[in-house]
């Protein structure tokens, strides 16, 4: 075959430039850690990698919401624990208040403690989470769940239910429980009665008797009242326990969901890496290969280019 001198030179130059471009491409892959910088280099892989990136981002988001719900549930969990402790103490006081031998001083001491317990309970039932929302107010989370009225009674002022928060894969988890589901119940006369009325009832009974000695009627009323009190305390305590249990199981669901999301993100990240990231070993082997070829081309170019008939004339 006849070869024109100029096209031989051009062909040699282009072969070398082509190898240099390949080497530069591999160097970029190694330097950036990415197998490609634009999706068109491998549209199928880029599309899958992008889908995975969106899934990882969704997972990260779900984990944030999960943490947020966990935080609210933990805030209400602490309050519920305090409430059940107070109930426990109320129970003890009700048992001792049922005793026959109870002096006027004893009754007054109990009444004072009950008043303190009530104030503590009010504080607990108006617990707030870190973001400032009242955890037992339902949808009206900007206002305290219970408020003391001018007449000394305490009324529920929340409304509706707590928000349900998306925590990934279409799961919605209630971020709390409104107090009207366990601290308030109908009084059977068209109105509501709350756990705070129990405190008032208790302290009322303690203050009913004459300070210097109860009459037999007063004592009988105290006995009957305390019996009823123990029953009502038990039902209120059970209500608190139920909510604690429900929230506990929600927290454990969140915890296992978090673990699942974290595991999934690790798997997704691994898949993304195989799709997108440079296989450094393979890239370096390729780089060596092209460098060897380029060296060979350069050496043979020098040899062949120096062969000219004009040199022999």
């Amino acid at each position: 075959m006849r070869i024109a001198t100029s096209s031989w030179y051009r062909h040699q130059t282009e072969t070398m430039l082509d190898k240099q471009a390949k080497i530069a491409g591999l160097q970029e892959q190694i330097a950036t850690g990415r197998r490609f910088t634009s999706a068109s280099a491998d549209p199928a892989a880029a599309q899958r990698a992008d889908t995975i990136k969106r899934a990882i981002s969704d997972n990260d988001q779900a984990l944030r919401n999960s943490a947020s719900v966990t935080e609210r549930l933990q805030a209400s969990g602490l309050a519920l624990e305090g409430m059940s402790d107070i109930m426990q103490r109320m129970n003890e006081l009700a048992i001792s208040a049922s005793s026959d031998t109870l002096s006027g001083d004893d009754r007054r001491t109990i009444a004072v403690e009950i008043d303190q317990l009530k104030a503590q309970f009010l504080q607990l039932s108006n617990a707030r989470s870190a973001d400032g929302t009242y955890v037992f107010s339902g949808g009206a989370s900007g206002t305290p769940a219970f408020a003391a009225q001018p007449d000394g009674s305490v009324r529920y002022e929340g409304s509706g239910k707590a928000i349900r928060v998306p925590v990934g894969a279409g799961n919605l988890v209630a971020a709390g429980d409104a107090a009207d589901s366990f601290l308030v119940r109908p009084d059977g006369e068209g109105g509501d009665t709350s756990v705070f009325d129990l405190f008032d009832q208790f302290s009322g009974l303690m203050r009913a008797g004459d300070p210097d000695g109860e009459t037999p009627e007063q004592r009988a009323a105290r006995h009957a009242g305390m019996e009823d009190m123990l029953v009502q305390l038990k039902s209120s305590t059970d209500g608190i326990f139920d909510v604690q249990a429900a929230q506990g199981s929600r927290l454990s669901v969140l915890e296992s969901e978090e673990r699942r999301l974290e595991d999934m993100s690790v798997d997704l990240e691994a898949t993304r890496s195989t799709l997108e990231d440079t296989d450094v070993t393979a890239a370096i082997v390729d780089l060596e290969r092209y460098a060897t070829i380029l060296k060979a081309i350069q050496a043979s170019f020098g040899k062949v280019a120096s062969l000219s008939l004009f040199d022999r004339l």
Binding site: M1, R2, I3, A4, T5, S6, S7, Y9, R10, H11, E14, S38, A39, S40, A41, D42, P43, A46, Q47, A49, D50, T51, K53, R54, S57, D58, D60, Q61, A62, R64, N65, S68, V69, D131, T133, G139, A140, S141, G142, T143, S159, G160, A162, I163, R164, V165, P166, L172, A175, S308, L309, F310, L313
Partner: protein
């Protein structure tokens, strides 16, 4: 002896000419487009004057140079032009698709990233819907989402006009080449056949033909006068160039803004289809993809804005008021007329008033001087300089105008106009407009949908009480009986601004109370409705944009592959032609030795003739 002198001298002349040609070949060994020459030498027949008696014994009277021959291969040259046209098409298409791909961004940049941040921030807000900082964040990412839509839409629009501009300059370059070819055609008519001038002109012709083939595919025909014609290689074979006429190319626009190709643009313009190869074909292909991508993006922007606004309007904000529009995509498209001579730029702002559907015209009259902005249907107009206002639309004009400059203003919607309409985070309507409270142990399910039902009078909130399995009584806030309805499970009860669908069978005495959501109520139902719509098959906004990007990336990748293949094919045929007609220095060196020896031998012939002459003289 006289003959031998002549023969020797003719040999000297012939080899001298061959050496000149070799010298020329060596000198042009690296000249682009140079075709290797050779001297065409033939034997001279016996001249009659030398005497009849020698006629049948001599071998002629020497050699003569007939002309300079170009080592030209018509078939290979045509193949190179075909290859160049295909390569130019694929390279142009690939180049513009590459621009399009980068305009659409990646998952980490641009619109895709903005979508991701929007959904992240919205879902974050779902965990604490009344938090002002979370609301502010959502508002901010909504703003940057709108901005990303705007930037992407504007970038696609700019690319569209860039491609049209590139098509125009391609056509202009092709026309320059056509005019150069016409000049060469004239020169060829005058050049002597076989002359070095003709060979030089033909070299130039082939060079220009290859250049022309990069713009449009061509077919070349030579006529008997050494001239040539160029046809478009598109099946119809319209003439681009004949010895008497040059038909220039032109780029125009049809009413839909699609670029069109004109032939004979200067004399009798007629529209033709874009050919299948050449740079113009590649630009046209890329324009098609770009235009589709732009339309798709506009649809996505409009749909997203509409769905978000619709759902947002069904909810209530922190003040308990219904949601106002979040996004807007309406605006005015400005198209300058092709023939405008001034350099005026037009900036349009709208205030949301209704614009005329048929659009507006903006024309400059230098006599007064003033701009006139008029509705296209002619029902209203206004005139002035600097700033014009019509139908709530403010048109600002910058730059120097020339008489008759004209712009067409059309109301349109799309990505480029997308913007956020809200600036107060408290205005985000994340809560449902109504809250449904059921009596404890309510046996059934209730779904509320917001509408404009007005079935109930009285003071809200209304209470729905089941007085029998098949009867519901509705009372208002003051316990006044408003209505009594027959009930079957699954039926929809109309309320005031809402409808209530009740599934299952509520027991007698069960109640549902529907009240308007009060200010500051913590509820993320409406936000969840907004998020859910983006998740469904038809409205997967994020996914649809990802699909658009994948489609363009695949097109670009395919175009790159085609460009690589056609570059190899073009390179091979160019190499084939170069090898056939280019200069090989070793070959020339061998020729040099050969012709030099022939030249020296010819001098020996003359010396021999001289010696013979001297010998004859010595006899005397």
């Amino acid at each position: 002896m006289n003959d031998l002198f002549h023969i020797g001298a003719s040999g000297l002349r012939a080899f001298r000419a061959a050496l000149d040609v070799t010298g020329g070949n060596v000198a042009n060994a690296d000249t682009p487009g140079y075709t290797r020459r050779s001297a065409q030498i033939s034997a001279l027949p016996t001249s009659g004057a030398s005497g009849l008696h020698y006629a049948d014994r001599t071998s002629g009277s020497g050699a003569t140079v007939d002309g300079i021959l170009r080592q030209y291969d018509t078939f290979l040259a045509a193949e190179v032009r075909t290859g160049a046209a295909l390569q130019a098409r694929d390279t142009a298409a690939s180049r513009w698709l590459g621009e399009l791909e980068s305009a659409l961004g990646t998952q980490e940049t641009g619109l895709a990233a903005a979508y991701d941040r929007f959904y992240s921030a919205a879902t974050d807000l779902a965990a604490s819907p009344n938090s002002l900082s979370a609301r502010t964040l959502l508002l901010e990412v909504s703003g940057s989402l709108a901005e990303s839509f705007g930037q992407t839409g504007t970038a696609l629009g700019a690319l569209e006009s860039d491609i049209t501009g590139a098509m125009k300059s391609s056509a202009a370059e092709a026309n320059t080449v056509l005019r150069a070819l016409a000049d060469i055609n004239d020169g060829l008519l005058r050049a002597k056949a076989g002359s070095a001038t003709e060979a030089g002109l033909l070299d130039q012709r082939d060079q220009f033909l290859s250049e022309l083939a990069e713009f449009v595919p061509i077919h070349v025909e030579e006529n008997s006068f050494g001239q040539f014609s160029v046809r478009l290689d598109n099946g119809l074979g319209q003439h681009l160039l004949t010895p008497s006429h040059t038909s220039e190319l032109g780029i125009g626009k049809d009413p839909h803004g699609t670029p069109t190709l004109f032939l004979d643009a200067n004399f009798a313009p007629r529209e033709i289809d874009f050919p299948a190869s050449g740079e113009l074909a590649g630009q046209r292909q890329a324009w098609e993809k770009l235009s589709q991508a732009g339309q798709d993006l506009d649809k996505q922007a409009n749909r997203f804005a509409q769905v978000m606004n619709d759902i947002h309007a069904e909810g209530v904000d922190l003040a308990g008021e219904r949601g106002k529009p979040l996004f807007a995509t309406d605006g005015v498209g400005v198209v300058a007329q092709e023939v405008n001579r001034g350099d005026v730029s037009v900036n349009v702002k709208t205030d949301g008033s209704a614009l005329a559907v048929d659009g507006y015209q903006l024309v400059y009259d230098s006599a007064i001087p003033q701009w006139t902005l008029s509705r296209t249907d002619g029902t209203a107009q206004t005139s002035g300089l600097g700033m014009l206002t019509l139908d709530g639309m403010q048109v600002e004009l910058y730059g120097n105008a020339r008489n008759g400059d004209r712009f067409v203003l059309t109301p349109e919607t799309g990505a480029a106009h997308m913007r956020l309409e809200m600036d107060d985070p408290a205005d985000l309507a994340m809560a449902a407009a109504f809250q449904v409270t059921s009596s404890s142990g309510f046996a059934g399910g209730a779904t509320l949908s917001v509408d404009d039902a007005a079935a109930l009078s009285g003071t809200a909130p209304h209470r729905f009480t089941w007085t029998a399995a098949d009867e519901v009584q509705i009372t208002d806030a003051n316990d006044v009986l408003i209505a009594t309805e027959a009930f079957v499970p699954g039926m929809t009860l109309e309320g005031a601004g809402y409808s209530l669908t009740v599934s299952g069978q509520p027991a007698v005495g069960d109640t549902l109370t529907v009240s308007a959501t009060p200010a500051g109520y913590e509820d993320n139902s409406n936000l969840q409705a907004m998020l859910a719509r983006g998740d469904t098959q038809q409205e997967a906004f994020e996914e649809r944009f990802a699909q658009l990007r994948t489609r363009i990336s695949s097109s670009y990748s395919e175009a790159q592959r085609r460009a690589e293949v056609s570059a190899i094919v073009a390179e091979q045929s160019a190499m084939g032609l170069a090898n056939a007609q280019g200069v090989n220095l070793d070959e020339e060196a061998a020729n040099l030795v050969r012709y030099q020896q022939g030249y020296q031998a010819s001098t020996r012939i003359i010396a021999a003739a001289s010696e013979m002459f001297d010998s004859l003289l010595a006899i005397g």
